[in-house]
């Protein structure tokens, strides 16, 4: 804090001589990245927005019919679309809650170990993060295999082999949440661990002297001081979960009976299986709106946090 204010004071004195040349250099530095995002993300998004008001199929753009909001009206009267919206929200909420809970819990447990043991454990815990979602789904399809899978073998030992797993509508989405938790908790552990190392040791010292127990320390010292990290984690993990595609594509393809179809999967199917481009784009735009509604507030918080 003191650094940057001192820095500002110096710059103000030097500024007039450099100002114009500096501004040009700054623009020159920022522009390529901004242009890349603009051209590859924002322009296609504009295209998607326009396309969502047409009824057309790929390769037959000439015969496109302008339908204005019909695709959106269709979305809200299409039971499968509504189910995929529900699935997406449920998946995001469950996965995010479990990931943050387990991830932060593990980080706290790891912090209490000796640095050396802690680091080795953290490195091993980090492994799933580096594995492709399509491989993750491959591994877990084998794990969930009713005949040969390890999960059913273990459940069988407890007499629970009736578990529906990926093949029944009642359990499929939850089974995928479990896989997502396996894949994503390592990311939470890495980030939360780094966040924990930033908490001054004196605070724990003080809590101990005041006679606070482990749980009390967790909720009165650790969690409050981790808030900023948690906001970032919710933002990054939440947006990724809401946009989930690869994992479901590899595990169930959206089935059985659309019980695991997410918005991304549904948009993909409408585009590439039903060749309903306009409708697919409308589904994508609804996904965008969902993301903005759910995570926009967190984005503003994380930005404000960084200004001070």
């Amino acid at each position: 804090m003191t650094h940057s204010s001192a820095g500002k004071a110096i710059t103000k004195r030097v500024a007039p001589n450099y100002a114009r040349k500096d501004l040009r250099l700054a623009v020159f530095l920022i522009l390529p990245a901004a242009l890349a995002i603009f051209i590859i993300m924002i322009v296609p998004l504009g295209y998607a927005l326009v396309a969502s008001t047409f009824d057309y199929s790929l390769g037959q753009e000439d015969t496109a019919v302008f339908v204005f909001l019909d695709n959106y009206i269709r979305f809200f009267s299409d039971p499968v679309a509504l189910q995929s919206l529900f699935n997406t929200v449920l998946f995001t909420v469950l996965s995010l809650t479990l990931c943050i809970g387990i991830g932060v819990g593990m980080s706290v447990a790891l912090k209490s170990l000796s640095p050396r043991t802690g680091n080795v454990m953290r490195a091993i815990f980090a492994m799933p993060l580096l594995i492709s979602p399509i491989i993750v789904s491959l591994i877990w399809r084998y794990m969930y295999d009713p005949t040969y899978g390890l999960i059913y073998y273990v459940l069988g030992l407890f007499g629970l082999e009736d578990f529906g797993g990926l093949t029944e509508t009642a359990t499929a989405l939850y089974s995928i949440v479990i896989v997502d938790v396996w894949h994503a908790v390592p990311f939470i552990i890495l980030v939360a661990s780094a966040g924990l190392t930033m908490i001054p040791e004196e605070l724990y010292e003080a809590a101990r002297i005041d006679g606070a127990g482990a749980l009390r320390t967790l909720f009165s010292v650790t969690i409050p001081l981790l808030t900023k990290t948690l906001v970032v984690l919710i933002l990054i993990r939440g947006t990724d979960a809401f946009r989930v595609f690869d994992l479901i594509y590899g595990l169930t393809g959206g089935g059985p009976a659309n019980s695991t179809t997410s918005l991304s999967i549904y948009a993909f199917k409408q585009a590439y299986e039903n060749n309903q481009m306009g409708y697919a784009m409308a589904v994508a735009i609804v996904t965008l709106i969902g993301l903005v509604v759910l995570f926009g507030p967190f984005m503003r918080n994380s930005a404000r946090g960084k200004e001070d």
């Binding site: 500096d22 799933p128 399509i134 930005a303």
Partner: protein, 274 residues
């Protein structure tokens, strides 16, 4: 005393349970890649078996996995390099010049995290189809650059914000130009941040399926697309796909071990200090 002891035992049980939970699926796929089909499909998981390299031989002879590996390496390295260069300059530009709209622009970058991938995919697919770039590696590279940039810029911003301005001022008083100061003084300080961007971007690009699936053809398949083609079929060739999965994930895990301490430092550089 007894209570502390119990807490400590409980903690270790949880940690070991989590260790088993994390490692078992990975070990299973690696072990399966050395098993024959007969040993893979047993009612009771088989721990002792005669290892075979058949699946790897198959992977390299019956599929083009060698080619996919090279394609993936090209895509991951070039997209990561572009991301690092663009993000590094943007983050420096946004933090070092006291721009009035710096925060607004920085937030604009983060908005990229809200764009549904599918909304980008179809238009890019149509455009690339029209200009004849579909089926080349350019498609996935460009897509991965855009997908990785928002987080990369945001992550590096945290690092650049933490650098005391005096460091740069001092270099310039000693006669460096602004860019010389950047290369000689600023850059060495943010190496951990760069390493974090490197591993996170590279793993994303190496592992990404959707864009690679839609924008490549048989000659430009990347590893995830190749694996998806083994899995997507009605019956899965577990031996072959386990070998392909092992070939794909082991290099990334090894790289991850080398840079994992930077990942932790990197992702929170800006977010946590403050």
């Amino acid at each position: 005393m007894v209570k502390r002891r119990l807490v400590s035992i409980g903690k270790w049980i949880v940690l070991v349970a989590f260790l088993i939970w994390t490692v078992t699926p990975i070990l299973i796929v690696i072990v399966n890649s050395f098993k024959t089909a007969k040993d893979t499909f047993t009612d009771v998981p088989k721990i002792f078996f005669e290892p075979t390299l058949d699946n790897y031989v198959n992977a390299f002879t019956k599929s083009d996995i060698g080619l996919y590996f090279v394609n993936s390496a090209i895509v991951a390295l070039s997209s990561t390099l572009i991301v690092i260069i663009l993000a590094m300059f943007a983050a420096y530009g946004l933090t070092s010049f006291q721009l009035r709209f710096a925060n607004t622009i920085a937030n604009g970058f983060l908005l990229g995290k809200l764009v549904p991938v599918i909304a980008m995919l179809l238009p890019i697919f149509v455009i690339f189809n029209a200009v004849g770039l579909r089926g080349t590696l350019v498609g996935p590279v460009i897509a991965h650059v855009a997908l990785n940039l928002p987080f990369a810029v945001w992550l590096l911003l945290g690092f650049f914000r933490d650098i005391p301005r005096e460091l740069e001022q001092a270099a310039m008083i000693d006669g460096c130009t602004r860019m010389q100061a950047f290369w000689r003084v600023i850059l060495p300080v943010v190496v951990p941040g760069m390493a974090a961007v490197f591993i996170l971007s590279a793993q994303y690009s190496w592992n990404e399926l959707l864009f690679s699936l839609q924008l490549t053809n048989l000659e430009t398949y990347t590893l995830p697309v190749g694996i998806a083609s083994f899995v997507g079929a009605i019956s899965v060739d577990w031996g072959l796909s386990s070998a392909a999965a092992t070939i794909t994930m082991v290099p990334m895990i090894l790289i991850g071990f080398f840079v994992q301490k930077y990942i932790a430092q990197g992702t929170t550089g800006g977010a946590v200090k403050g």
